[in-house]
Every structure is written in structure tokens, then in C-alpha cells.
Point group: C2
Chain length 539, copies 2
């Protein structure tokens, strides 16, 4: 354990508090309970862990309590996939099902079919189990991690806590700079969500930064170290084959995946097939022992609109399908990573081919960005693509921050990225008609219509920003109960006028179409007499 | 003319300068010319008017030069629709065609068919003509305007200049506060883009804020005043019929359109059909005399996910179709306004029904927001919906700013809204495979891949923000030519590694799949001898 004791953000999100739902066998499943001024409350899915629980002691040096430890020690080693195939519902599946509001058997059957994963390394007992699959709520991953030119352990642990506070379902530590092992250890021991990594980064560090000096043995040792630490899923770019490298030669942006470019360089330098591919079965055996989930990386994903859905990308995807079958045959859980930069009309094909070639394994995509022309706003260009690809079936979205293509995201960027992706994910949940998704929209809109401003803010994804924006133009406390805002002012507030209309209709018995039409017939004569002229037939 | 002399933002956007394309008959069509470090340049559509031309004198008191005045005085009064139907290509159509890079005949035929509009009031000669229709680039409107509790003439004129600087194709002045007439006059005389209004707002002001005190005569006088001033298109909520009001009674958010709620209140208070509907033919005659375009307002648009595509909304849309036919019979150009709040899976139906019921009139939508739960981020929730609805055929998108639902947007919000909507519009242009759309993505991505950082920023929608974000983590000048950024640092830069891979492949004759495979056969024996073990068949 590192001696560093960073400070992180704690305390509940404005207008809410941590609550727990009781499940069978003593399960306590966290929710964020939003209190409303009506006396009701609205519970939402909560990824934030004990940090938002006012009653939970936080000690970063000690780490979070090992919630899953008794479940893990009580059973034989085995992956969630193995248990699911054996017909067993694990506590992890049950916990995830309660969070989703679905039957635990649905979680088990989707995991058994390979259409969902429960990333839960036996060595990361601190994590609160969750499920990733198209039948469940769309999930969001936040990437954090330092680079050689930026950031510290303290910064990265706070980014993890901060990202999960705002809704990140998993966090990937992509550190490539100093103190990689210590940073990851501190993150893992304090993370309430599954942690993913890309082991080739640490391997390249150990190889002195020269891809040609990488080897299977060096890589394997890094993977074992990370498995031991508790990493829940690992990106492995095992589909970047030597013969695919020339397919990228004519691309506008070549290979934009770090892992993909590293492996391409290795393959070409040695003129050999990638060791990630040739040693894939051995790798499966290692991951199975810890129940680490594969996230088969798209090392040849397109990095520009011009390169979308090209031969290199699709050739790799076919290989990922082949590897998925191998992993599943060894009871190892698998997700498939997806692009990248894809114009809107080419997004659906990505989901269709992934599902067909990879046996329905959960798709986990980076955006995709729907255009290349907006650096500084790529959280938005990519949220547009992400909402679409999730609507079509992508199970988890990797966020993109405003700093994409420009620099390392800071804490503010992390929040913006997470909130933006919660929007994309929720838009997809609505479009997929997830049974519980619309309740929050309805509750917020009802609050909006009834001028319950604080309820509206508290029900939103980011109550602090909503309140701050309202304060900017109408800061006084009475404005929080006013029947208008600065956008329209009191006379032009459509919602106030609508209330007046409803009151008037109610008072005059004009609440139905029949009543209106009866009244119109009565008025018609008087109307004409008064000089009214009807130029159009009233249909 | 008002005595106010506000100051506005002038000068070219970073990395570019104003240029003009010469057309027939002395037409000079503005473009923004982005200079690249390669010595080439890239021209982009330019909405910013003379303000970004270093050589143009700007005098807000005098207004912009009346570009269109000679064309207008040289011809008989008549609408663009009338000319198009007569087979005549006006200078306005020709100008717009050059901006779009299409044949002028395409503009004429689309206008003649009612599938496109060229909003160009004879009294607004300062505007640079443009075309709105699904066969052309997707356009963006920016709403500005004060309210009773906020803003001034100075602020609003600067917002107009600022919005067009960043790409707004039209601007709507929705002022409802003080000095409505003076604000509009100052905006019109200085606007290089068409200006839209909602005359019922000024009418309501004149009626002392009481919808029941409105009358056709009062409204007509306001419309004539605004036509005389030069307003190019007007939102008219003529489809809010008395009998539709009860259809909104069970809605979660009732009537959220200001104009819709005002007319509903009038109809109910008088128990009469809306004067906007009964006097619609007279209104057509007024608009025709100036060639003002109708923007038939969706007064009953849904204001929440729960209310999307409901009976009230669709009943009104049918009526708008009926009114479209009336307007066209009088040679008046028509757009149709659309929602609002719509979940992703219900968006396509909006376009389909609008095109079917309204004879293919250009659709002009407000977003739609794909979820209700993110106040403070509604530029993003709505860009997700906007990109989709534009991909399906919406011709113009009305922006939404981060302040939506919370307060009046300030200058920063206006820019964020415009850039966000340029992203949505461009994503749709790409998805529609607009012939010239992808060139900018390709140019920017090539610059990115070649580490031409400044070219990348200059080609982006917002060069200032891209540069500022890059500066945040690597501020020094050498970083602008470095072959890495702070995201990955030098060793992990995929693009640098890809360049190395390409150089290596080139030097070793490994640039084709055939060469790779020949080399692999050769290496296979050596590979096995060296201890390599292949567990998977190399397909």
C-alpha cells in the first residue's frame, strides 16, 4: 500500500442521500435517494460508493470495506460465466439485478449466454457488483490515469472518486507515467466500481518505451501483477495481426489506438504474429484464475471519419470474434471494444457486425465521434455517436472529455465527460424503452411544470450546475419558488399561462373536446355578428 | 434608428481571413479562407458578414451596406417562390447556390417545389442570401432577445454578431422586454443573416400582457410594422386551434411554447377559433407583399419526453399542413417548426409525418432534447436529438444553449449553443453524404496525423478553444510542433508510433499484405526455433 493519503470529495450530492435497498441473504444495495418537496422521494442508480454516505468512515490508507470478501471465500474459484452456465446465481448477479430492478435470473441467463458480463476480480472485493449487457441499463466508463508529462497519484484517486460520484459505472486507469503500480493500487483499494487497465502500457514502460523490446514473458508478468492487484477487466489488443498492418497504410489517421500501434510496431519489427494472439489461450488461463474479464481491444479502430468501417477495422473485428469463442470455451468473460470516429450513417453496421461476429458479446465503444472537426468539443461530437450506438445495442460507452485530442483531462473535464455520457446512455435507455428509465424524466418534468425549481435541480444529473445557472440570472431565494425564470420573465412564461388556461377551463367546464365544440356552436352566430370573418373552413 | 452605438466583435477568426468567390453578374460570395502551414488553404461556408473582413468599415449607426438593394429595385415585387415557379433564378438563389457549391437550378427547383426557402424580406437588403432545405447544408438558428428581467440593446446586437461569427445561419430576435422595436431595428440594419421573430410577443406587450386583450387588428399592425422593418421570417402559431386545447390537459408539461400558450389562452377566453387561423389568408397577403417567409410554429410541441408525439402535437401538425397549402397557393414561402422534447426512437416519425402532411416544406426543429434530466446541459441533450432529426431531413436546427430551462443565455452561452449545433448539423451533413461535407474532416484529420497542431486548430469549429485547451497542459510554443501531446506523452503517442511503423515498412518493403505473408512464411521456422509457440491456427 502506498503511503500517499490523498484527499477526495465526500458527502452526498445536493438534494439526496445514500440509502440502501435490502435484498435476500443480507444484501444491502446502495441507491441515491433524492428527496422531493412533495414529501416523496425518487431513487436513482448509485455508482458513488461509500463516499456519498455521510455515515461511512473514509480512510484512503485502509481502503474501502471488502464487501464481496465473504462471498468470494465461501465458494470455489470460478468465473461468473462458469457459475452462470452451471445455473447458479451468484451474490454478484443478485446485487446487480437489484440495482437494475430486474430479476436475478435475467442477469444469470445473459451472463451464461455471453451477452452480459459481471466484471469482478476475486482480488477486488471492495467493488459493488454491476452488470454490463444490452438488456440492462447502458453503462459509462471514465478513463483516468497520468502520462509522462502530467498528473500525480493524488490527482488520479480523486478523479476516480469524482468520476463515480457523477455516475461512472467503471473506471479505466490508463496511467503511462510515473508510479504506475502505486497509482493503480491506491485506485483499486478505494474504488467502488470495477477497474479496467491496458496492461501493454505498463509492459512498454518496462521495455524502456521500445515496442520491439516487448515479449510475451514480460507482458505475462505484468498481467499477473495486475490480476493480483485486483484489476477487473483488461484491454487486450489481440486482434492486431501482422497481416492487417498494411491495411492501415492508406488511412488518413493510421493506427490511433496506443495499444494497437505498439503491437503493430512489435509485429513488424519481429515479422511475427502478435504474441497476444499466439499466446491467447495462456492469457485466458491467467484471467480465468482471477475472473478478470477480457475487453478485446480495437487496436485498428478508425481515428477519423475517412477511416470508418474500413477493411483494417473489420478484419480485426472478425479476429476478435474468433478470440471471443476461445475465451468463452475457457469460461472467461468477454467484452468487445468498438470505435472511435464513425459518421452517423455508418454506426448501425458496427453494432450489427459486432453482434454477428462476436456472438453477441457486450459491445463497449469509445464514442464514436460523429465528426472530426470540433476538437475542444469532442465530448459532444462523441455523445451524438454514443447515443446512437447505444440505442442500437452497445452495452457500455467509454466517455470522451473536452480535452480529447488536445491534452490530459483534469477534474472538471472528467465531470463534464461523465455527465455528457450519462446523457447519451440515458437517451439510449429511453429509446430502448428500458422499463424504469422514463420515471426520472417524468418526475423532473412534473417538477418543472409545477415550478418546483429545487426538485427540478435535485432530479437532474448535475444539481450543482443547474442551480448555479439559475442563480446567475435570478439569484434571490424567492426565485426558487417563482412561477417564471429569466428566460421569459413573468408575463411570457408558457407554463404559467398554461396553468391559467387549465384553471380557466376547469372553472368553465371546458376540459373536453366535446365541451369545446358544444361551446363553439353556441358562439358561432355571436362571432359572425361581432365582425369575425372565417376565411378557412373549420375542419 | 436608435442612438445606441454598441460595440461588437470584429476581425477574422484565428487562422483565417475573409475571401470572396466571384460569381456571374458581379456576385461576390463570402467564404472564410483557412490558411494552412502546407501553403494550401481550405474555404468554409461563412455566415459572419463584413465583421470578419479586416478591410470592411463597420459603422453600427449606419448599418451594413445594402447588398441586395440593386437586385430588389431591378425587379417587380414578387416572392422567391413566385420567381422560382416562373422558372426564374434570382440573384438570391444564385448567391445561395455558390455558397452551397451546387447548381443554381437546384436551388430554384427546390424553392419552386416548396422543399426549400430563401428567407429574404425586400426590406432587409443587408442580408447575404442563403437557402434552407433538405437538399442543402443543414442550417443553424440562434435565438437571442431580451426579457423583462434581463439584457439590453447593446447586449443583443453583440449576441447577433457573435452568433453569426461562430456560424449561425439565421438569428431570431425573441425580445419580450424593453425597447423591442429599437432592439430589432438595430439588429436588422446590422445583420448579415436573415432575422426571424415571433410577432405575437410584441402584440402581447401592446395588449398589456393579457392574452385575452389580443385581437387580429392589434396583431396585424405588429406584423406590418415588423415586415416594414425587414424581418425575414415570422413564427406564427396558427395551428393552435381551440379544440386542441383540451388535448393538452393530461400532459406532463402542458403547453411549453410561449406563443402556443398565449393563443390557447386567447381561444379559451373568447371561446373562438384563433384569429391566426381564421385570418390566415389575410396574413398571407401581408407577408407576400414583403416576401416574408412563414415559420409555422408548433405551439403544441411536447415539452417533455412523456408528451412526445402525442395527439395534441400531431393534430396541430396536420393543421400546419393545411395552412402550408394555403400559403403556397398565395406564393408565400413556408417552413414548419418542430419539437422540442422527443426520445430518440420517436424522432424519425416526426420527420416522416411533417414531410407527408406539409408537402415536404423545410422542417425547422428545436433540438429535440432526447431526455429531460439534464438541465444545464441541454445544448448536449438536444444536439443528440438534433443530429438525428437532421440526418432524417430536418433543414434547419434551432439551437439550445446550456441555460435552456434555467435563464437567459449570455454571450458565452450563445457561442456554446452555436458551436454545439454546428456539430449536430455537420454530423448530419456527413450522414447525408453531402458532397463537400467530409473535406473539412479529412483536412483536419490529416493535420492531426501529421502533427500540424495549428492547422488542426484552425480547421476546427472553434480554433480559440482548441488552442486554449492545448495550452492548458503544454503551453510552450515548441509543443505546437511536437509529435505528441499531454494525453499520452511522447512514448505512447499512437500517431508517432504509426509513423515509425510506416517508415519501417517502407524501408523494408513491407507495405502490402503479400509482402507480409511472404515474409511470414520465411520467418515461420526461425520463429518456432526461437521458442515461439502458436496455440491458435493462423487463419
Amino acid at each position: 500500500m502506498t503511503a500517499v493519503a490523498p484527499s477526495v470529495t465526500t458527502g452526498p450530492i445536493r438534494g439526496s442521500h445514500k440509502a440502501y435497498l435490502d435484498g435476500p441473504d443480507g444484501l444491502r444495495v446502495p441507491v441515491r435517494r433524492i428527496e422531493l418537496s412533495t414529501g416523496e422521494h425518487h431513487d436513482v442508480y448509485d455508482t458513488s460508493g461509500p463516499y456519498t454516505d455521510d455515515t461511512a468512515p473514509i480512510d484512503l490508507a485502509a481502503g474501502l470495506p471488502p464487501l464481496r470478501a465473504p462471498w468470494i471465500t465461501a465458494r470455489e474459484p470460478g468465473t461468473q460465466l462458469a457459475y452462470a452456465r452451471a445455473g447458479l446465481i451468484t451474490p454478484e448477479m443478485r446485487f446487480a439485478a437489484i440495482r437494475e430492478g430486474v430479476d436475478a435470473e435475467l442477469v444469470r441467463s445473459e451472463v451464461a449466454a455471453g451477452r452480459a458480463v459481471v466484471p469482478a476480480n476475486r482480488r477486488h472485493p471492495e467493488s459493488e457488483p454491476m452488470v454490463i449487457g444490452k438488456r440492462f441499463l447502458v453503462k459509462v466508463n471514465a478513463n483516468i490515469g497520468n502520462s509522462a508529462v502530467s498528473s500525480s497519484i493524488e490527482d488520479e484517486v480523486e478523479k476516480m472518486v469524482w468520476a463515480t460520484r457523477w455516475g461512472a459505472d467503471t473506471v479505466m486507469d490508463l496511467s503511462t507515467g510515473r508510479n504506475i503500480t502505486e497509482t493503480r493500487e491506491c485506485i483499486l483499494r478505494n474504488s467502488p466500481v470495477p477497474i479496467g487497465t491496458v496492461p501493454i502500457y505498463q509492459a512498454l514502460e518496462k521495455a524502456g518505451g521500445d515496442p520491439a523490446k516487448l515479449s510475451w514473458e514480460l507482458y505475462r508478468d505484468v498481467v499477473v501483477e495486475q490480476c493480483e492487484q485486483g484489476v477487473d477487466y483488461m484491454t487486450v489488443h489481440a486482434g492486431v495481426l501482422l497481416r492487417y498492418v498494411p491495411l492501415t497504410a492508406k488511412r488518413v489517421t493510421g493506427i490511433v489506438s496506443r495499444g494497437g500501434s505498439i503491437m503493430a510496431a512489435w509485429c513488424l519489427a519481429h515479422h511475427r504474429e502478435s504474441f497476444l494472439y499466439t499466446r491467447f489461450e495462456e492469457l485466458c488461463d491467467i484471467l480465468r484464475a482471477y475472473d478478470v474479464t477480457f475487453s478485446l481491444g480495437d487496436g485498428l479502430r478508425p481515428g477519423s471519419i475517412a477511416d470508418a468501417n474500413d477493411e483494417a477495422q473489420l478484419a480485426e473485428l472478425r479476429t476478435l470474434g474468433e478470440l471471443t469463442a476461445v475465451a468463452r470455451s475457457k469460461d472467461v468473460q468477454v467484452m468487445i471494444e468498438g470505435p472511435g470516429h464513425v459518421p452517423l450513417h455508418k454506426i448501425d453496421e458496427n453494432v450489427r457486425l459486432e453482434e454477428e461476429w462476436c456472438g453477441g458479446a457486450p459491445f463497449y465503444t469509445l464514442g464514436p465521434l460523429a465528426t472530426d472537426i470540433a476538437p475542444g468539443y469532442d465530448h459532444i461530437t462523441s455523445a451524438i455517436g454514443a447515443a446512437r450506438i447505444a440505442q442500437r445495442g452497445t452495452a457500455m460507452l467509454c466517455y470522451v472529455t473536452p480535452k480529447e485530442h488536445l491534452g490530459l483531462p483534469d477534474r472538471d473535464d472528467v465531470k463534464t465527460g461523465v455527465i455528457t455520457y450519462k446523457i447519451a446512455a440515458h437517451a439510449a435507455d429511453l429509446a430502448k424503452e428500458h422499463p424504469r428509465a422514463q420515471a426520472r424524466d417524468d418526475a423532473l418534468s412534473a417538477a418543472r411544470f409545477e415550478f418546483r425549481w429545487l426538485d427540478q435541480f435535485h432530479l437532474s444529473l448535475d444539481p450543482d450546475t443547474a442551480l448555479a445557472f439559475h442563480d446567475e440570472t435570478l439569484p434571490a431565494e424567492p426565485a426558487k419558488t417563482a412561477h417564471f425564470c429569466s428566460m421569459c420573465g413573468p408575463k411570457f412564461c408558457s407554463m404559467r399561462i398554461t396553468q391559467d388556461v387549465r384553471d380557466y377551463a376547469e372553472a368553465n367546464g371546458l376540459t373536453t373536446v366535446a365541451a369545446i365544440e358544444a361551446g363553439m356552436a353556441e358562439k358561432a352566430e355571436e362571432f359572425t355578428e361581432s365582425g369575425g370573418r372565417i376565411n378557412l373552413p373549420l375542419a
